[in-house]
């Protein structure tokens, strides 16, 4: 925490430079069919109160029974965060009143969470990386949903989400900029999606963040923090931190003090504002839930879950660097989504790893981004892209023609090899034909030929002319060799 301060991360105030300190509580909805303590469905988008059992509605006498899969998902996530798994944990009641919380308390874990300390390695855009400490992960119930825009005097309450399992993942205050905070959430989301323990869909609220922000002069003790509740996109997390840090700096530079409070980020106004109603609610009067025994399992259970974990992004990245000779940056881009990594591996298998990475990242991802498509919806399959790369490797087509071929496969589909035949895209390797074109160009440009003897870089111009004359189909290596010989360039 007291690592040297990187001046680039500091925020310039009117009087001083300030360091921003960020910690996060991420609420990740557990991927499961049924809820944490009832047999009602977790599926999103049902009719109001359709996915509600009498347990979720907190009818008197109903008792919670824990969903074993939610426990397994929490343990898997803990393992993915390289965290300590607690073989014994306890469920507590967190008491507060709100219309979408029918029990009057949330079943959560307070003193004894299922997962203890862990860490997440976060790669930054500039190639550096930071380690963010995880303080804990605990299981808890989600609340229902209130709609406020249906009626001038009434709020509409839907309990479909009530009782869905959440993992609250609490980080240490190890983040020092909005960029780091965004990269941390992005990485955490990637890990969760690899593990299959949370779909990470922020638009549907499957992943929500409470962001704790404070500022200090470098080297000074931590300042008073404010908690910004329920920020629901990675972009907004960045904006909320910037906005809140500047608000706090302005107050402190004016000689004021920060009140510890809960705030709400309003993205349309670009400001955070106090949620005074939440203040008194901080007295949650936790106590162990008498309806639930402690959650206990043995190490063998944890080990079995560990056995079943997929290869995680850090390990995959390291393997891509080692096995395919990729740069850490390219490997990082490829492993950000499991589907992208799988696609890449299908293309790279038995081929040049770097060439495959260039095609996947530059051509395919570039095109997918342009069209707003996900990798799963790619019109060019891994087999098709692989065939295009093979055709280049075999010298059948040039790199330039390959891009045209990619375009045809993207828009029309088809077997790349057959397309090359039927459209006459084959590279001309017949030296006789190339030589003829070269001779014509040399004959037509005696002045350039003379210059080329003094200035060998003119070779490029001749190559260009030859390619043009052959409709781009001449083998570039053959053209180069011929021109060098004929122009007398070493």
């Amino acid at each position: 925490m007291n690592a040297p301060v990187d001046p680039k991360k500091l925020i310039k105030g009117g009087l001083h430079d300030w360091e921003v300190i960020v910690g996060m509580e991420i609420h990740a909805q557990v991927s499961s069919r049924a809820k944490l303590f009832s047999g009602a469905s977790t599926e999103f988008g049902a009719e109001p109160n359709d996915h509600v059992s009498l347990v979720d509605a907190a009818m008197p006498g109903m008792l919670p029974v824990i969903n074993a899969e939610c426990v397994a998902q929490a343990v898997r996530t803990g393992l993915g965060l390289k965290a300590k798994i607690n073989l014994r944990s306890v469920f507590d009641r967190k008491n507060y009143f709100y219309p979408d919380l029918p029990q009057g308390y949330q079943i959560s874990q307070y003193k004894d969470p299922i997962v203890g300390e862990g860490e997440v390695l976060v790669d930054m855009a500039d190639g550096s990386s930071i380690t963010v400490g995880i303080e804990r992960l605990h299981l808890e119930q989600d609340a229902g949903k209130s709609l406020h825009d249906q009626d001038p005097t009434r709020s509409f309450v839907d309990l479909n989400r009530s009782g869905v399992a959440l993992m609250e993942i609490v980080s240490r205050p190890d983040l020092r900029s909005s960029e780091e905070a965004k990269a941390y959430v992005t990485k955490l989301r990637t890990i969760l999606r690899y593990l299959g323990t949370c779909d990470g869909d922020m638009e549907k609220g499957s992943l929500r963040a409470d962001v704790n922000v404070s500022v200090r002069r470098p080297g000074e003790p931590l300042g008073t923090r404010c908690e910004i509740k329920n920020v629901n996109s990675i972009r907004f997390i960045g904006q909320a931190i910037e906005t809140e840090a500047r608000r706090q700096i302005a107050i402190l530079e004016d000689g004021g003090t920060i009140d510890q409070e809960t705030r709400l980020f309003d993205p349309t106004k670009g400001e955070t504002r106090s949620m005074r109603s939440k203040e008194e609610a901080h007295d949650y009067r936790y106590f162990p839930d008498p309806d639930l025994l402690p959650l206990e399992f043995d190490q063998a259970y944890v080990d079995a879950l560990a056995q079943g974990l997929p290869e995680l992004p850090d390990a995959k990245k390291a393997r891509f660097v080692a096995d395919y000779g990729l740069s850490p940056y390219d490997a990082g881009v490829l492993v950000a989504e499991r589907a992208s990594a799988d696609y890449y591996e299908a293309v790279a298998k038995g081929r040049d790893g770097k060439a495959a990475a260039n095609w996947v990242i530059n051509e395919l991802f570039g095109r997918l981004n342009k069209e707003g498509l996900s990798i799963e919806a790619s019109p060019v399959s891994a087999a098709q892209l692989g065939a295009i790369i093979d055709l280049i490797g075999e010298g059948v087509i040039s790199g330039k023609i390959a891009k045209d071929l990619f375009e045809i496969v993207w828009t029309e589909g088809g077997d790349p090899r057959a397309l090359v035949e039927s459209r006459g895209m084959k590279q001309v390797t017949d030296t006789g034909a190339i030589e003829k074109a070269v001779d014509e160009i040399i004959a037509a440009n005696p002045d350039k030929v003379a210059q080329a003897k003094e200035k060998p870089t003119l070779l490029g111009w001749f190559v260009g002319q030859t390619m043009k004359a052959t409709g781009g189909k001449a083998n570039p290596a053959a053209v180069n060799a011929l021109l060098k010989a004929k122009l007398g360039i070493a």
Partner: protein
């Protein structure tokens, strides 16, 4: 341990129980009597004793991850004073 008048009011508010000014004094006395009664337990030495969570040694029951309930929205909202399209209606609560 004992509670003062202010704490009585605060606890009542957190529990959403309306307590009149006249009731605060008597309630304070009752609560303090209960606390004093419970305090007698402090005389017992429990060092090294695990807190008891159940009277019978048993593991927590777990359910399979299978959807077995739901599809009864009308029942869920049946007791609500006000509903519309199977939503609960409550006085507007908005930040």
């Amino acid at each position: 341990m004992s509670v003062d008048e202010k704490t009585v009011r605060r606890i009542a508010h957190l529990a959403r129980i309306a307590v009149t000014d006249d009731e605060v004094g008597p309630l304070q006395g009752e609560l303090n009597a209960i606390l004093a009664f419970v305090e007698q337990l402090g005389a017992v030495d429990v060092s090294g004793v695990e807190p008891m969570t159940s009277v019978t040694p048993m593991a927590m029951k777990k359910r399979e991850d299978v959807v077995t309930e739901g599809g009864r929205a009308a029942d869920v909202v049946a007791n609500a004073p006000e509903t519309e399209d199977n939503y609960f209606l409550v006085p507007k609560v908005v930040e």
